[in-house]
C-alpha cells in the first residue's frame, strides 16, 4: 500500500522476478495511482480527491500519536489551515498556492500556542483538553462573524488558479486534475512525514511514547519533542485544510466538529497505527465501503448502522488494525508453501 519512494526495506540478495517486482513497488504504486481516476466515474473521482486529502489528514495525525498522545482537536487544526488560507486568498488577495502554505503555517502556529496548556496534560486528559481547545476555536469562528462568517462560514473561496500556457491548460474544477494536484502535494507531504519518522527526531518520538520517564532521565526534553510532533502534524493538517477549502469552495464551523474528528480517529485505529501505512489503509478501506459500496447497495438509511457494525467487528477481530491483515495472510500463505520462500517478504 501507499509507501513513499525510498521506503524499500532491505531485501535479500536473490534475483528472482518476484523480488525485482517487490523492489519496483513504488513504480507500480505510482502507475496505479496515476491510472486510478481514469477507471472511476466522475463522481467517484470527486470521492478520490477528498480521499487523498483525508490521507494527509490521517497520516499527519499518526505523527502526533507517535508520542503517545491522542488529540481530539486535529480536525479543528485542519480547519485553522482552511480558514486561514481561505481568508488570506479572499481578503488579502494572497495567491492560492501560497495561501495554502501560509494556512499550514498558521495551523502550526496555533498548535505551538496551544501546546503550552495542553502538554501539561497526558493521556485521557490531553484527549479531552484538546477537545476543549478545539471547541473554543470553533466557538470563535461562530461568534466573530467578521471575518469568520459566523455559523454559515465562508463561501466562494477562490479556487486553485487554472494553469494556462501555450500548450497546456489545466482547469482545477475538474476532479481529475485536482486529484493529481492533491496527489502531488500529499505525496510530497507523506515523504516528508516518513523521513521525519525515520529520523532521530522520529525515534525520539517513539521513545517518549514507550519510555517517557526514561527518555527524560537521559536528558530528552519531552515537552519540546511533544510540541514539535504537534506542530509538524498540525502544519500538514493545515495543508490538508487548504486543499479542502480551495476545492469545495466553502468552510463552516460544523465541518470541523468533533463528529468529523471521530472519523479521523476511526480511520487511524481501524487501519492500525503501528505502521506508516496503517492509517492510510484505514481511510481508504472505510471510505470505499461507506461512500461507494454501501451507497451502491442502496442502503441509504441503514448506512450508519452497517458502518457502526463494521467498526465494532474490525476492532474486535483485527485489534491491530487492517495493517496486521497483510502479514497475517502472508504468514498463512507461507505456511501453506511449507516456508520455502521465507526471505524478501517482510513489510516495513
Amino acid at each position: 500500500m501507499p509507501e513513499p519512494v525510498g521506503a524499500m526495506p532491505a531485501t535479500g540478495t536473490g534475483g528472482s522476478i518476484g523480488r525485482i517486482a517487490w523492489r519496483l513497488r513504488p513504480v507500480f504504486l505510482f502507475a496505479a495511482l496515476a491510472a486510478l481516476p481514469y477507471l472511476l466515474s466522475y463522481s467517484q473521482q470527486e470521492i478520490a480527491v477528498l480521499l487523498v486529502i483525508n490521507v494527509l489528514l490521517v497520516s499527519s495525525y499518526r505523527l502526533l500519536t507517535l508520542t503517545g498522545e491522542w488529540s481530539l482537536g486535529h480536525v479543528v487544526i485542519m480547519g485553522v489551515g482552511a480558514y486561514a488560507s481561505a481568508l488570506l486568498a479572499k481578503q488579502a488577495g494572497v495567491p492560492v498556492p501560497l495561501s495554502m502554505l501560509l494556512g499550514g503555517c498558521m495551523a502550526a502556529a496555533v498548535a505551538a500556542l496551544l501546546s503550552f496548556p495542553l502538554f501539561r496534560m497526558k493521556g485521557f486528559y490531553f484527549l479531552i483538553g484538546s477537545f476543549a481547545a478545539g471547541e473554543i476555536i470553533r466557538l470563535i469562528w461562530k461568534r466573530f462573524t467578521d471575518p469568520f462568517g459566523g455559523p454559515k462560514g465562508l463561501k466562494r473561496i477562490e479556487p486553485f488558479p487554472d494553469i494556462e500556457t501555450g500548450f497546456l491548460s489545466i482547469d482545477f474544477y475538474e476532479p481529475v486534475n485536482y486529484y493529481f494536484l492533491a496527489l502531488v502535494v500529499v505525496s510530497a507531504s507523506l515523504f516528508v512525514l516518513y523521513r521525519i519518522e525515520r529520523s532521530r527526531i522520529g525515534l525520539t518520538f517513539h521513545a517518549i511514547h514507550w519510555q517517557d520517564r526514561l527518555a527524560e532521565s537521559v536528558g530528552v526534553d519531552t515537552f519540546r519533542y511533544r510540541t514539535l510532533a504537534f506542530v509538524i502534524a498540525s502544519f500538514f493538517a493545515g495543508i490538508a485544510g487548504g486543499l479542502y477549502a480551495h476545492y469545495i469552495g466553502a468552510v463552516n464551523p460544523t465541518r470541523f466538529s468533533v463528529d468529523q474528528m471521530v472519523y479521523v480517529l476511526v480511520w487511524a485505529i481501524v487501519g492500525g497505527t503501528a505502521t506508516f501505512h496503517g492509517p492510510i489503509l484505514g481511510v481508504v478501506v472505510l471510505t470505499v465501503i461507506n461512500e461507494i459500496v454501501l451507497r451502491a447497495l442502496g442502503l441509504d438509511t441503514a448506512r450508519p448502522l452497517i458502518y457502526g457494525a463494521i467498526l465494532i467487528l474490525s476492532v474486535l477481530y483485527l485489534p491491530n488494525g487492517l495493517e496486521s491483515l497483510g502479514p497475517r495472510l502472508r504468514a498463512l500463505w507461507q505456511r501453506r508453501r511449507g516456508g520455502s520462500a521465507a526471505a524478501g517478504s517482510e513489510p516495513a
Binding site: 491522542w70 496548556p117 501539561r120 496534560m121 497526558k122 493521556g123 485521557f124 486528559y125 484527549l127 479531552i128 483538553g129 477537545f131 476543549a132 481547545a133 471547541e135 473554543i136 466557538l139 461568534r143 468533533v258 463528529d259 471521530v262 480517529l265 476511526v266 485505529i269 481501524v270 438509511t301 441503514a302 450508519p304 448502522l305 458502518y307 457502526g308 457494525a309 463494521i310 467498526l311 465494532i312 476492532v315 474486535l316 485489534p319
Partner: protein, 287 residues
C-alpha cells in the same frame, strides 16, 4: 428575587440529571478504563423506553422509568460482554467500538420510532410554588430520584462486598484480581449501574426534553465537561462538578445568554485542566 429563586430551582433540576449521567460515565471509565462515547445514546435509549412504554403503551410512568433503568442496564451488560471485555487491554479499541455502537443505537431508534421527536405527555400537571418560584412535580421527580439513586449507590459502594470490589478494580485492576476479585463480575455490575444511570436519567427527563434519536450528542459533550471538572476517576467529584456546572451554566444563561454560558462552561473546564489536570477531586497521579 423571584428570578433568583427560579434560577436556583432550574439549576437544581439540571444538576440532578447531569449528576446521574456523569456518575454513570465515571463508573464505566473507572472500572473499564474506556471512554464510553455511546453514553449519550444510552440516555437516549432510556428516554425512548418511556416513549414506548408510557406514551405509546400506556404503562404507568414510574414503571416505564424502572424499565428504562433495567433495559439500558442490560444494554450496558451486552456492551460489556461483546465489546469491552474482549477489548479490555485496548482502550482505544473500546472507544471505537462505542462509536460504532452509538451509530447502531441511533439507526435502530430511527427505524423503530422515526427520525423526528418522540412525544411524552407529562405524567402529572402538578406543581409547587414557593417564594415566587415554580417547581413542577415532573422536575421534582427527577431531583428526588437522583438524590435517592445516588444515595443508594453511595451506600451500596460503601457497604457491600461488591462495592469494595468495584472500588478495588477502579483503583488497581491487577491487584484486585490477585485478591481473588472477579474482574468480569465486577465489570458487569459496573456496566449495569453506569448504563442504567444514564438510562434512568433519559427516562426521567423524557417528558421534559422532547427526545430525538440524536439527542445523545448534546448530552455527551456536557457529561465530558463535568467529569473533567470533577476528576475522571471520582464519583463524588462528578456529583459536585455536576452541581457546579449546572449552577454556573443556568445562571449565566439567565443573566447573559445560552451561547455565553457554553463558552463559560468550556473555559471553566479548560482552566481546571490547566491548573489541576486531574480535576478538582481526581487522584494526584496523572492518567
Amino acid at each position: 428575587m423571584d428570578l433568583l429563586w427560579q434560577t436556583a430551582v432550574n439549576a437544581t433540576y439540571a444538576a440532578s440529571y447531569m449528576a446521574l449521567i456523569a456518575v454513570g460515565l465515571v463508573m464505566i471509565f473507572g472500572v473499564m478504563g474506556v471512554i464510553n462515547f455511546a453514553h449519550g445514546e444510552l440516555y437516549m435509549v432510556g428516554a425512548y423506553c418511556v416513549v414506548f412504554l408510557y406514551a405509546q403503551e400506556n404503562f404507568p410512568f414510574l414503571l416505564a422509568v424502572a424499565a428504562g433503568l433495567v433495559f439500558v442496564g442490560i444494554v450496558g451488560i451486552v456492551m460489556e460482554r461483546t465489546m469491552f471485555r474482549p477489548l479490555r487491554d485496548n482502550p482505544l479499541g473500546g472507544l471505537i467500538a462505542s462509536i460504532g455502537f452509538l451509530l447502531i443505537l441511533q439507526t435502530l431508534v430511527v427505524f423503530g420510532f422515526g427520525r423526528r421527536m418522540g412525544h411524552v405527555p407529562p405524567s402529572t400537571h402538578g406543581k409547587i410554588e414557593f417564594f415566587g418560584a415554580v417547581l413542577t412535580y415532573q422536575r421534582l421527580f427527577v431531583i428526588v430520584a437522583a438524590i435517592l439513586l445516588l444515595a443508594a449507590l453511595w451506600a451500596f459502594l460503601r457497604r457491600s462486598k461488591f462495592g469494595r470490589a468495584l472500588r478495588a478494580c477502579a483503583q488497581d485492576t491487577e491487584a484486585a484480581s490477585l485478591q481473588g476479585i472477579s474482574m468480569n463480575q465486577t465489570a458487569r455490575i459496573a456496566m449495569f449501574i453506569g448504563a442504567g444511570l444514564a438510562g434512568v436519567a433519559g427516562a426521567l427527563t423524557a417528558p421534559l426534553v422532547s427526545p430525538t434519536p440524536y439527542i445523545g450528542h448534546s448530552i455527551i459533550v456536557t457529561a465530558f465537561i463535568i467529569i473533567i471538572v470533577g476528576g475522571v476517576g471520582s464519583l463524588e467529584g462528578a456529583v459536585i462538578a455536576a452541581v457546579l456546572y449546572a449552577f454556573v451554566h443556568t445562571f449565566v444563561t439567565t443573566f447573559f445568554d445560552g451561547v455565553i454560558a457554553n463558552i463559560v462552561g468550556l473555559a471553566l473546564m479548560l482552566s481546571v485542566l490547566v491548573v489541576r489536570p486531574t480535576g478538582l477531586f481526581g487522584a494526584r497521579e496523572r492518567a
